[in-house]
């Protein structure tokens, strides 16, 4: 057996691939489910915090900034480990899926809050003044005039951050969630062959390459014409 044959046998073993493909496919769908739940919860919570922050209630804003900075500073894996291994000690145990979902949603929330907030504050003061001068109140001005402009400005950074956090679903493998990486690692331990990891990498590409390309399209589509 030449080195090349050994390499092919290790990473592109057809028999192992056929055996573990179904597991990887299951992991693929689980990754999509987890990622979808994280994006929904994380972006919605981030937007909600940014809206609350724009009310300008000082103690509330301190609290928001504290929470946001906390989750931006903590490595996502640490948050997952804390929730999964730490919470049971407090009498509350989460499934691996729930722990990963909650952790990554909190991290995504923190980053998206900052992005939405940056967008809201980047809308010129004159927009507020023009709307208010026609008799629009705070909330209609915010939701009809300011927020649509802010959202449009933040689409590119929001897309990038969302992709980055969503790739963190791979971290769920450490808390026994059989998503793509988890399924691949299990396959490796059973087959004593790394081919399932190759399948996993391909699965990630199949999942995220279109998302990255979509992100690129979204960036150009939402480029702001003034």
């Amino acid at each position: 057996m030449t080195n090349w044959d050994r390499f092919l046998d290790s990473f592109f073993n057809a028999r192992v691939a056929a055996e573990y493909l179904p597991k990887i496919v299951e992991g693929f769908w689980l990754t999509i489910l987890l990622a979808g739940c994280i994006i929904l919860a994380g972006v919605a919570a981030g937007l909600a915090l940014a809206v609350l922050r724009s009310l300008g209630i000082r103690p509330l804003n301190w609290l928001i900034i504290f929470v946001v900075d906390l989750f931006r500073a903590l490595p996502p894996l640490v948050v997952i480990a804390l929730l999964y291994f730490g919470l049971p000690a407090a009498g509350l145990s989460l499934s691996g899926f729930a722990a990963a979902w909650l952790s990554l949603s909190l991290v995504l929330m923190a980053f998206t809050e900052e992005i939405f907030w940056a967008g809201i504050t980047a809308v010129p003061k004159g927009q507020w003044e023009a709307a208010r001068s026609t008799g629009l109140g705070f909330f209609p001005t915010f939701s009809l005039v300011v927020l649509p402009q802010a959202l449009r400005m933040v689409v590119p950074p929001l897309t990038n951050r969302t992709i980055a956090i969503t790739k963190g679903t791979a971290l769920a493998s450490v808390v026994a969630v059989p998503e793509i990486l988890g399924a691949a690692q299990a396959g490796v331990s059973f087959s004593f062959n790394p081919t399932p990891l190759t399948l996993g990498a391909i699965a990630y590409l199949v999942l995220f390459l279109p998302v990255v390309i979509l992100g690129r399209w979204v960036e150009t589509r939402f480029a702001w014409k003034r």
Partner: protein, 249 residues
């Protein structure tokens, strides 16, 4: 109801502090119905701040303001309701970039006056006609020239049928060749009988259209009178110096 003879805008003893800065130092201004009052003065004289106090975009530190009989500074006054009677046009136009010209004009008609969309757009279209931009109703601000944007902004304000219009340097951000269209729209508005307070240095327009010119400096009204008097024969030294400076170019 306001008395027919009383001023439609009446500001008394207006003071405004920005931190340690004392921007308005007791300004009195009365504007009567159908009157066009021009406010001029060097930058930092407080003229824009005074204008912005009239619809409470700035909160005066002291004084009293009534517009159309409504106490603007009273905490119990519904300021959003009052502001519908006070149109404002800004130096930077401030059109909503994500809405068409028609959408810009119709927004407050729908969301403040509660008109159904079709009625609001009908009214908005008529307002755009008044500034000769009916054919640009579907254009976004980014597709309009500065002068056209400012006329849309005027339409946005007059669509609400205000009792008085405030103009904050409406032509200062425009290229010279675009100023004429905006001044023409203002002149037509004036001829329709609108009460107007204009902060601007368009002396030609002031001479032709203003009933009264108010010269401000250092947060106070230094001198006021008819345009010919202020521009041709100012009584105060500071007025004379300022008129001399702006006439030179």
């Amino acid at each position: 109801m306001p008395k027919a003879t009383g001023p439609i805008v009446e500001a008394r003893g207006i003071h405004k502090h920005f931190g340690a800065l004392h921007v308005l130092k007791g300004v009195d201004l009365a504007v009567h119905e159908r009157e066009l009052v021009f406010v001029i003065g060097p930058s930092g004289s407080g003229k824009s701040t005074l204008l912005r106090c009239l619809n409470r975009l700035e909160e005066p530190s002291g004084g009293a303001i009534t517009v159309d009989g409504i106490d603007i500074l009273d905490r119990r006054t519904d300021i959003n309701k009052a502001r519908q009677r006070i149109g404002m046009v800004f130096q930077a136009f401030n059109l909503y970039p994500h809405m068409t010209a028609l959408g810009n004009v119709a927004l407050a008609l729908r969301k403040v006056q509660g008109l159904p969309r079709a009625m609001a757009e009908d009214k908005a279209r008529r307002a755009l006609e008044r500034v000769h931009l009916a054919d640009r109703a579907g254009h976004y601000p980014g597709q309009l020239s500065g002068g056209q944007q400012q006329r849309v902004a005027i339409a946005r304000a007059i669509a609400l049928e205000p009792r008085v219009m405030l103009f904050d340097e409406p032509t200062s951000a425009l290229d010279p060749e675009l100023v004429g269209g905006v001044l023409a729209a203002m002149r037509e508005l004036r001829e329709s009988g609108m009460t107007m307070v204009v902060v601007s240095h368009e002396m030609g327009f002031a001479r032709a259209a203003a009933d009264r010119v108010v010269f401000m400096d250092g947060g106070r009204i230094v001198e006021e009178g008819q345009p010919e008097a202020i521009f041709g024969n100012p009584q105060q030294e500071r007025t004379r110096a300022f008129i001399g400076q702006i006439s030179r170019h």
